[in-house]
Subunit: 418 residues, 2 copies
């Protein structure tokens, strides 16, 4: 399975005979790189710019697919790393694939497992890439070489070897619509030479992934493959990486790896990279999900985003709300209000009176605050539902605003005059 | 507030001018004490026999009121003990009462707090009353005397004094439809003399509760008061207690306290007590919720039941299913199947193909098993939803079967030929 096959990649059809398609246009002349698109998959279409919600272990934590749909979710993702360890891709394949297994019939993406292996494995990579605090997890990566990555399962200690080819096979067994190549993730503060070496290896892995995919995809339900850009914070490396993926017959491109230590550095990287990428393909920005980052990246040409942020934040009592509500409740510089705050003890208002989700239709901040203090799981579900509804509303607002020229006002509604 | 008032209890209207009403008939001549009823409250009516679901801290764990309604729940309860400590009855009153606070607009009951104070406080009382293992909780009851119970909050250590009058006031502030008198709960294995003393004190507390309620109820939304029977496993004491509540103008009666060490002893106690109680009032059996206990008690004249069992069981992966499914999956003598069991790893069937709940409509046992192992909260919600749906289906089946004379077959469908 791993040896090169006779498929001619020069003539390879990344759209899988039109089963996947990306249509787009640039509606606002004052934002020349911001675009509206429709991404067609065998499980339906999504309007872009779009947010992809994390259903890591084959479930968005606390919500059913029906609930996700009801609040406008267009697409979700699951993590190959977690699912290959538990319950295993072979089981999910046997049960009819991820869509059937988890009851989600819309478009779906899986990552390749690379990010988790390297970030959980090195302990600090994730924290560094995401610019958060140091992780305290034990290191589980045993070896990384040209063949792939060898690591221990965090569940039972079993040793796994994930190659670029195996990452494709696992994703074929899982069966989502959009799949990713295996890449090697490096933190932002390693030397340029190490970043370059990892990038070049990721390119070789990308080519092997493409070969494996091209030679086997007819045996599985239709899937489209995304290539991943690396190159860290180095413009010349990012350029090399963009040129590499442009030259390969990927269906879409995902911007991966470290985007720097600050927001400004991140926007610079995204700016340079997105400008150089083939506009004919959808561009995904991996692991980014703050409102500010989304507004800033859409105008650079990003089509899709994913991040655990809205759903994880919800489980800790944080509700995404428009700027005016944050200002009125004393936290204008955050993107959310913290329902743990004692100012909400007797607050009879809904989270966000302008939101029509179930949480905002039926429950007060006072009640949600009580549920948080009482440790009641219902609150995690309710705020998650609200945050998913709100992210979809933000994306919908962004799309409308590109259509009618009100992007600036929409940005102000959500982020204020910053 | 605690001194007797001029209300004349001999002429007292327990139905609150007809705002509460219990209609009933005995449809099956072969089961002369089994009855069908309708219990009318200001928040709607419920068909009896009915099961009351526990929403201890103002939420049924994991489900919204809308979800409860969708699977047929008619009535829920909350626990006075928990809510008086957190967030406090004054706050809930200020927020418009329990119905508004938690978004449940149907009939609702609260207990008086007595059971939790005594069971959590003594550590072993709950375990003994419920015939389960010894509790390891610290003792929090500081003093019990004629005035009431003094105990420490399990949340912040603050000292609370709950009198019969205060238990009424707290429940008036909470605002459910049906409320209970404060009683003193004793374990089954204490001496008869101690059981008798506690019973007589509970009667005095019952009278004080009634006085407090009668003198103040016009200041609150309409509520109906239930008296509680004590007397442990002693037939002569239970008789005294039944005669006591019959003689007081309560709206309904709840059978409390220890029901013995075995199922047989419990059915004997319920048999004797229910026979002696005024048939004109609804009879509630406190804290009982196994399918076998319900089928056995309905034919003795019990109208309503409550128990954490169906919802707690669900959170531990136990799904209530008809007998045939338990038999087919190797656990006929249990009332549930355990989704943790590895036999379900590759089982593509729903929990119960004869159930129409969301969990059974969309998900396989294989998926639920995966979610349990992965520690995903969605599974607690899904199995809770299923168990609530199933308890409502059981109660509905019981009601239909009393109507059409098929009680025995219905019992067999759920419990087999035991």
């Amino acid at each position: 399975m791993q040896s090169p096959s006779p498929v001619n990649l020069n003539a390879f059809d990344a759209t899988f005979n039109g089963k996947f398609k990306f249509e787009y246009h640039y509606p606002d002349a004052t934002l020349p790189r911001a675009r509206l698109g429709i991404l067609h998959t065998p499980h339906g279409s999504l309007d872009t710019p779009a947010f992809i919600f994390c259903g890591t272990k084959a479930t968005v934590k606390g919500l059913t697919p029906q609930e996700m749909k009801a609040v406008g979710a267009q697409i979700i993702l699951s993590n190959t790393y977690h699912l290959m360890l538990q319950p295993g891709s072979a089981l999910i394949h046997k049960m009819g694939g991820l869509h059937k297994f988890m009851g989600w019939d819309g478009p779906m993406l899986t990552d390749s497992g690379g990010f988790q292996i390297f970030s959980l494995g090195h302990g600090s990579v994730s924290a560094e890439i995401k610019r958060t605090q140091q992780s305290v997890r034990p290191k589980t990566v045993l070896k990384i070489d040209e063949t792939g990555a060898t690591f221990r399962s965090y569940i039972d200690g079993a040793i796994h070897h994930l190659t670029p080819e195996r990452a494709i096979t696992v994703q074929q067994e899982l069966g989502p619509d959009l799949i990713l190549v295996l890449d090697e993730c490096t933190p932002f503060n390693i030397e340029k030479s190490a970043t370059e070496a990892a990038m070049l290896r990721s390119h070789r892995w990308g080519q092997r992934s493409l070969m494996q995919y091209a030679n086997t995809r007819d045996h599985y339900a239709p899937q489209a493959l995304y290539g991943i850009l690396q190159g860290g914070v180095y413009p010349d490396l990012r350029q090399v990486s963009a040129d590499f993926v442009n030259a390969q017959p990927f269906f879409g491109h995902a911007i991966g790896g470290s985007l720097g230590a600050t927001k400004e550095q991140m926007y610079e990287v995204v700016d340079q990279v997105a400008e150089r990428l083939a506009t004919s393909r959808p561009i995904h920005l991996l692991g980014i999900g703050s409102l500010r980052d989304i507004f800033s990246s859409v105008i650079l040409g990003i089509d899709t985003f994913d991040c655990v942020h809205p759903t994880r934040l919800a489980r800790h009592g944080g509700a995404l709300v428009p700027y005016a509500i944050r200002e009125a409740t004393g936290t204008p510089r955050r993107e959310h209000i913290n329902l743990w705050n004692s100012r909400f003890i007797e607050d009879p208002q809904p989270l966000d009176a302008s939101c029509s989700c179930e949480a905002c239709s039926h429950f007060s901040r006072s009640y949600l605050h009580h549920l948080l203090k009482a440790g009641e799981m219902l609150v995690q579900k309710l705020i998650t539902l609200h945050n998913v509804a709100t992210m979809n509303r933000v994306m919908s607002d962004i799309r409308s605003s590109l259509r009618d020229g009100s992007f600036k006002q929409t940005r102000e509604f959500w982020l204020g005059n910053e």
